[in-house]
């Protein structure tokens, strides 16, 4: 609750700052009597801004042509921003030095068109790239953008720009709430999300200033040019972000592949336990002397056990929990056939339908059978339980055997257990905990975060 309150407050603050900033710009710049020198200087600033935006547009266009996966959003935004600055009053100021501007109203109309299209592109970007579940946002955005654009066109034609600021403010609200909604729903916002948010603020701010400013006071000359120069730096930030991400990704995937190969080989090495297999074979031979059906059963169990091991070689790393439980079951049954005192194994299974690393639970059971010495105990048991919370699946393996002290645990903890735990941590980002008390038993708890959380 506290966190959501913070979010709401920070969003409202942003909105107030935007409005205050726009109003401040309008009145501050508007009341200054502009000298001719200033107008000439602004001309160069505008030219500079146009050139910068054209460069961005070329970069975007070429990346679009060369790499089909590149984003269309940034390309559209760059071309719209270029149009935006070319049709602004700064441009009229620039062109006026070369000759007379015949139809300034055409500039205004184009300006409005570019602005509203850019707004819709940004809205679309938020809805699509951040998988906003509700399609209504897009629909409301489209309808209100068209409506506001129409209203804006009328106000330009009939020279009625008094209300334009209010109109644009309402569109701002629509987009803003989409933005807000996404940032509220998804906990993670990436850099691109924020940078495009900034572009949105700058475009809106300068458009409000330029269109309504004219009505109230003078046009704040040069404002839009400076805005576009800032947008240019924002684009540079997007590129920097992309490059950093690309490097991270290649590095991470290389690292990932290396780890997976390593994991596969370690599982293979430790799991195929010849001692166990030969013991089983000797056992099967003796069973066949007395009970043919039981012998068949033992062969089925052993071949299932070996097959589970061979599957690792096939590259499978994750399997459904049900399958792993069956591996455990078959291992326990086989082990019980070898021992005179059968093991009391309890499956306290309350959660199904999630994935675990292959052969990742079996080592715990194997370890418990080996070290806990529960088989000598009257009421000894191993309990394997799965359960589910809102955000996690929890697997717990516990026994009431001899347990270990901390020092023993650190020393004797077998490699098999360590590897199994690290596979849980690496493949599923699980958190693991091993608790052992002398004479009370050992318990291993693994909690796996649910996907998409």
């Amino acid at each position: 609750m506290k966190r959501s309150l913070k979010r709401i407050l920070s969003n409202i603050t942003c909105l107030l700052l935007l409005s205050a900033g726009s109003l401040f710009t309008i009145f501050f710049f508007g009341n200054v009597e502009l000298s001719n020198d200033f107008k000439v200087g602004t001309r160069y600033v505008t030219l500079f801004a146009v050139i910068l935006m054209a460069i961005i547009f070329l970069i975007e266009l070429s990346s679009q042509l060369l790499n089909k996966n590149s984003s269309k959003t940034t390309m559209l935004l760059s071309v719209l921003t270029l149009g935006f600055i070319l049709s602004s009053r700064d441009s009229i100021n620039m062109v006026a030095y070369f000759g007379e501007v015949k139809y300034p109203i055409v500039y205004d109309l184009l300006h409005s068109l570019f602005f509203f299209t850019a707004m819709f592109v940004i809205l679309f970007f938020y809805c699509r790239d951040y998988q906003l579940d509700s399609k209504y946002f897009l629909l409301i955005g489209l309808v209100s953008t068209i409506a506001l654009f129409t209203a804006d066109v009328f106000s330009i034609i009939f020279d009625f720009q008094f209300y334009t600021a209010l109109i644009i403010m309402s569109l701002t609200l629509v987009i803003y709430f989409t933005f807000f909604f996404i940032s509220y729903q998804k906990r993670t916002m990436d850099n691109r999300f924020v940078i495009i948010g900034f572009i949105f603020f700058i475009l809106t701010g300068s458009y409000i200033a330029s269109s309504s400013g004219v009505y109230f006071t003078n046009y704040p000359l040069g404002l839009e040019s400076w805005g576009v120069i800032v947008i240019f730096t924002l684009f540079l930030m997007i590129y920097a972000d992309q490059i950093v991400r690309m490097f991270k990704k290649t590095y991470a995937s290389q690292e990932y592949e290396r780890r997976i190969k390593e994991l596969q080989s370690t599982i293979l090495m430790e799991q195929i336990n010849p001692h166990f297999i030969f013991n089983s074979l000797v056992l099967i031979k003796s069973i066949y002397l007395t009970d043919r059906e039981k012998g068949d059963r033992a062969i089925d169990l052993l071949s299932k056990h070996i097959r589970a091991n061979v599957d690792v070689k096939g590259g499978k790393l994750l399997i459904p929990i049900e399958e792993e439980l069956k591996n455990v079951e078959c291992f326990v049954e086989l082990a019980n056939m070898q021992n005179n005192e059968p093991l009391n194994m309890v499956f306290n299974i309350d959660a199904y339908d999630f994935m675990v690393p292959i052969l990742s639970i079996e080592p715990f059971i194997e370890n418990a059978i080996k070290y806990s010495r529960i088989q000598g105990k009257e009421d000894g048991y191993i309990e394997l339980s799965t359960s589910e919370t809102d955000n996690h699946y929890v697997i717990k393996v516990s026994d009431n055997g001899v347990g270990f002290s901390k020092e023993e645990l650190a020393k004797s903890n077998s490699q098999g257990i360590k590897n199994a735990l690290s596979r849980f941590e690496f493949l599923l980002r699980a958190t693991t905990r091993v608790v052992s008390m002398p004479n009370k038993g050992t318990s291993i708890e693994i909690s796996i975060p649910k996907a998409g959380r």
């Binding site: 071949s303 061979v310 049900e322 439980l325 069956k326 309890v346 499956f347 306290n348 299974i349 339980s385």
Partner: protein
């Protein structure tokens, strides 16, 4: 129903097939004579084919492709020692492959595949008077714990009515404290689920803290008795379980009514 079997090691399969009695089956063995196999497939209508994947002279997958081309409805079963997976099969034969059986195979797996080919659904037979036991295709069903067996008996006795966790606990673990009983209940549920999956007879809908039995394809002396096909209860109902007394009364009443008539 006619099938062909293509394998190097014929002996073992022959033994298994001879054990399967209740499916009308005509089978023919081939070693690795590709021409003869294709010739036979063209002249005779085949329901299914059991093929080894790695054979000295032919590739099982290639052969399957040929057979599918001859007859689109043929059902293929691969019998293999290597690690072939369903999802690795080429697309053009994937739809026809109904199962992959790994060596060493069991009678059950062969029988399961044959049943799918013959479209014959397996029937589970339960004996509920006297001591409780279940049979599938004349083999006894091996439960991995006595309580999972008892739980299944209870589900059968409830005759299609759903069973909640608390009900099950009052029947099966009346003297255990609740937390302990819940653990034992889940253990029994998991083991029952696992056994039913092993025999591919998924007649129980496992919901959260609720079990529902689907009675179709279950043959049971108790149901015969309720429907009147079996006239008298000659043995005591589920003699080894304490809770059977609850049902015994009803059975007694029905028997009395029948006797009066």
């Amino acid at each position: 129903m006619r099938i062909i079997i293509v394998d190097d090691e014929i002996k073992a399969l022959q033994l298994f097939l001879s054990q399967i009695v209740d499916i009308d089956l005509e089978y023919r063995f081939f070693k690795d004579d590709k021409a003869a196999i294709i010739d036979f497939a063209k002249k005779n209508e085949l329901s299914g084919a059991f093929l080894d994947v790695n054979m000295p002279n032919i590739n099982g997958i290639e052969l399957a492709r040929k057979l599918v081309q001859i007859d689109h409805s043929i059902k293929i079963v691969f019998v293999t020692g290597t690690n072939v997976k369903m999802e690795q099969l080429p697309e053009d034969i994937a739809n026809n492959v109904i199962d992959i059986i790994y060596k060493p195979f069991s009678t059950d797996s062969i029988e399961k595949a044959l049943r799918i080919i013959s479209k014959k659904k397996p029937v589970l037979t339960a004996k509920m008077f006297g001591s409780f036991d279940c049979f599938i295709n004349n083999h006894i069903v091996q439960f991995t714990s006595s309580k999972s067996k008892e739980l299944f008996a209870l589900l059968l006795a409830l005759n299609g009515k759903s069973l909640t966790m608390s009900q099950a606990i009052t029947y099966l673990w009346p003297d255990k404290d609740v937390d302990k009983a819940k653990i034992l209940y889940r253990d029994a549920v998991w083991r029952l689920r696992s056994v039913l999956e092993d025999i591919s007879f998924n007649c129980v809908d496992f919901q959260r803290a609720l079990l529902v039995l689907d009675k179709s394809n279950i043959k049971c002396d108790y149901y015969d008795f309720l429907e009147g096909k079996k006239k008298i209860a000659d043995e005591s109902f589920l003699s080894s379980y304490d809770w059977s007394l609850d049902f015994e009364n009803e059975i007694y009443m029905i028997s009395q009514n029948r006797n009066d008539k």
